[in-house]
Symmetry: C2
Subunit: 486 residues, 2 copies
């Protein structure tokens, strides 16, 4: 299956292109010829158009270079062959799922072979008795969801890209999503994995049993390591029963970000754990309405979109409680829905927010996570950053987690606006840190958050990163320069 | 607070004692004198009785040696001082919480300073708005539970030792417990930690926010590493709301292990996720009844003890479903209880099983985890191992997770029985592996499971362990010889 299927969002506008700096000792021509012999012709591309398409992920403005080649692995053996070849040739390997990353983690660097896993789409096993699935890394998240739903099981992790992103990429970045406020992130659903290491050896990490503590948790170490410690080729994923949930949506419209922020804090403090608690601001609402004419609430500055999923009377009570807390916080109106169709309708504005904003120009996507109680203050600081730097910033937030996505929009071709956007981006990161937050809640460090990661981790913890990277990839073959600042 | 409080179980019978093999290059007398100068007198013990008490944890028959000294750290500075001193003197450090481990992970090795964290009992912060707590490593699990319950919050991890074990030890071993079948294990509740590394430097890992993916997941790497990569001195723990749960107990008595095993499989397959699903066998039932005269079900070979915790009608329905599934699987009788007192009464036999068995003689505690559907077959194999090796084996199981604790009991002073018990132990590990299981579900590798871990992990994954250990502790200062086979 092609990861870039018809569900894919519009291609991002071309980011700034860096000239590749080829390591002088490498004969690229010879390397390309050797690769063409190493693998069947249909698995290696040297086509400049393909190289360009696979030179970067969906992160705007992150650096990238032209790669040596793009390899479309069809098996673990293909991955092993590429890693061994790269290690022997002084090249590096940039692994890649569907390329939907938003931090540049899959961007090509000079002297790198881009290794796409998108053709490794086999669902090896779905085991209802043990509630796990085994699937190759290139399986699309939504394909896995549908395959396990067919036997009454549920794979919760739901990044916004779930219709087009791969489970391998999800694991490599420890992708979050909307349901994590109640159900956790990708790492909470990975029991084990098959990994190709930097020397081309293949290891099985983790387990298939419900519990297990044999040795170090190397599965967890791989998750979120962005392909810098190993290339995940297969995953063992924990599943939940599909039955027993009944989603109810409660959507409030607010006159100010502050009122919506107060509602978030009140819902959390009341001990209600919603299965989603999302926020979109006025800029999002207007962009969606301008595009889709949904008739969103007049006068609303901010919408707060919640679901609860307990079945029966308890779910109805909790939905009542959420609605009451929204009203107490000053909601202008509260809409509710209990059928799947109504829930979908009420969440439509949330789902359309990102593509609506992309119509306005290249989007620089922030991904900060602050303490839940700091959400109103952080949103206020983002508004000040927008004003001070004269840029448009829209806000989509997984508000229940404190995970905010300020989307900084610069008009196409306006380099001055881009420069101002970058300043706003850095300032938001600084503000997030000042409020006790983390520089990336779910997108990963990639390239865009390297400076923020340096600040957040500090020299000693970075030293641990370097020591582990050197221990598992002494030659720096795997995705060099990503995940943490060297 | 003293970790060995009055709730502590009876002290285990003295295990086989190894003669310490002191590294020749170390002048123990000089090291002891230096330690006495380094720290206040009440924090260092050279008393042979204290050294003997702190030479091992609760693992029967795991090797141990006399330590250089026992240090009772009262602060992070104390821990740093001991680690630096050990590194400079060619000694090692064996960190220790309450010493309730069951794999020998806290057993002293020759040339080691035993470093107890039991005096570091400060609960630094409980944050209801963000639902986390910050606490020192020596805080007793139950003390933390009570402190957070006072503000309406719940810390789920509940190892059987929760009244006496420390949260630091729980994290170092990734302790499980009864509620993990629904709520996960210790690692699922650790957001971040403060750690003293092998060079004495202090680092903060992880975060306080609900989500965060900055850099490698070093928090997860530390969890379950048994103090071999760093000494956890403080934890940031995720909490859940205390409200909204209503426990209902459903306890079935069965005429055979096979019938009980079928009930477990049926409950899992039906998509019901109980909040506990425990099993005790005839040997346990008889030992409990012989001691406490509870009047447990006559003719029962096996008891299956379940709770569900959804509130209201949904919980009542799920309890009905569990009871019906038990009856369909051939339960001789099913008892139910909905009040906290009734739940406690129905679970009393489970709570008393381990101390009841300890009255019969030294207990060698197994800790295997097999696929849930293999529970009946594994229980049958355990019975055959008991018969073939002429030993008494009782079974306590977290059946809903496939996590079994065969308890091998040898009469006091019977060395031949101990030797047969060891053979049965090894055979059970082999059978577990043959059924696709893991050699330790929740107790950790420590010393007892080193041979099993070697089989399970294989040479390449062990190579990764060694590389990471060498990277973070190049001199082998921290708990050498534990967690994975060198």
């Amino acid at each position: 299956m092609d990861a870039r299927s018809s569900d894919a969002p519009p291609a991002p506008d071309a980011p700034i292109r860096l000239e590749p700096t080829e390591p002088e000792s490498i004969d690229l021509g010879a390397a390309r010829s050797a690769l063409a012999v190493l693998l069947p012709a249909d698995r290696v591309s040297l086509d400049p158009a393909v190289l360009a398409e696979y030179a970067h992920d969906d992160a705007e403005w992150a650096d990238f270079a032209e790669s040596v080649a793009v390899v479309f692995a069809e098996s673990v053996d293909d991955v092993v062959a590429v890693v061994r070849f790269a290690a022997a040739s002084g090249l590096s390997v940039v692994p890649r799922g569907a390329g939907t990353g938003l931090s540049g983690g899959a961007n090509a660097s000079a002297g790198a072979i881009v290794l796409s896993l998108e053709r490794m789409t086999r669902i090896v096993e779905v085991n209802p008795a043990e509630r796990y699935a085994v699937a190759e890394a290139g399986v699309i998240n939504d394909d896995l969801r549908q395959a396990v739903a067919a036997v009454g099981l549920w794979y919760p992790p739901d990044p916004a890209s779930y219709r087009i992103s791969t489970i391998g990429g999800n694991a490599a970045t420890n992708a979050g999503g909307i349901c994590c406020v109640k159900y956790g992130v990708t790492r909470d659903y990975v029991l084990g994995m098959r990994v190709v290491l930097a020397d081309g050896s293949v290891v099985d990490l983790g387990r298939r049993t419900a519990k297990g503590v044999t040795g170090y948790d190397l599965t967890a170490l791989m998750i979120g390591s962005e392909g810098t410690l190993g290339i995940i080729v297969e995953l063992i994923l924990k599943l939940l029963p599909l039955a027993g949930r009944e989603e109810r949506a409660v959507v409030g419209s607010f006159g100010s970000l502050e009122d919506a922020g107060r509602a978030v804090a009140a819902i959390t403090s009341a001990g209600v754990v919603p299965s989603a608690l999302e926020l979109i601001d006025r800029t999002c609402i207007e962009a969606v309405d301008a595009w889709q004419h949904l008739g969103l609430p007049h006068g609303a500055d901010t919408m707060l979109l919640a679901t609860v999923d307990e079945p029966g009377a308890v779910g109805a009570e909790r939905a009542d409680a959420v609605a009451a807390l929204m009203r107490d916080a000053g909601a202008l109106g509260v809409e509710r829905g209990a059928s799947p169709e109504e829930v979908d309708r009420l969440f439509l504005a949330r789902r359309l927010a990102y593509p609506s904003l992309e119509r306005l120009g290249p989007v620089l996507t922030e991904d900060i996570c602050v303490p839940r109680s700091a959400v109103p203050e952080m949103l206020a600081r983002i508004q000040r950053a927008a004003a001070d730097h004269d840029v448009v910033i829209a806000n989509i937030a997984h508000a229940g987690d404190g995970n905010l996505h300020p989307l900084i929009i610069a008009p196409e071709g306006d380099d001055a606006a881009k420069a101002r956007a970058k300043l706003a981006f850095d300032r938001i990161v600084d503000d997030c840190r000042a409020l006790g937050g983390t520089v990336t809640g779910e997108h990963g460090v990639g390239l865009l958050k390297l400076p923020g990661a340096r600040e957040e981790l500090g020299e000693r913890v970075l030293g641990m990163h370097r020591a582990i990277k050197d221990a598992l990839d002494p030659r720096g073959v795997l995705n060099p320069g990503k995940a943490f600042p060297e």
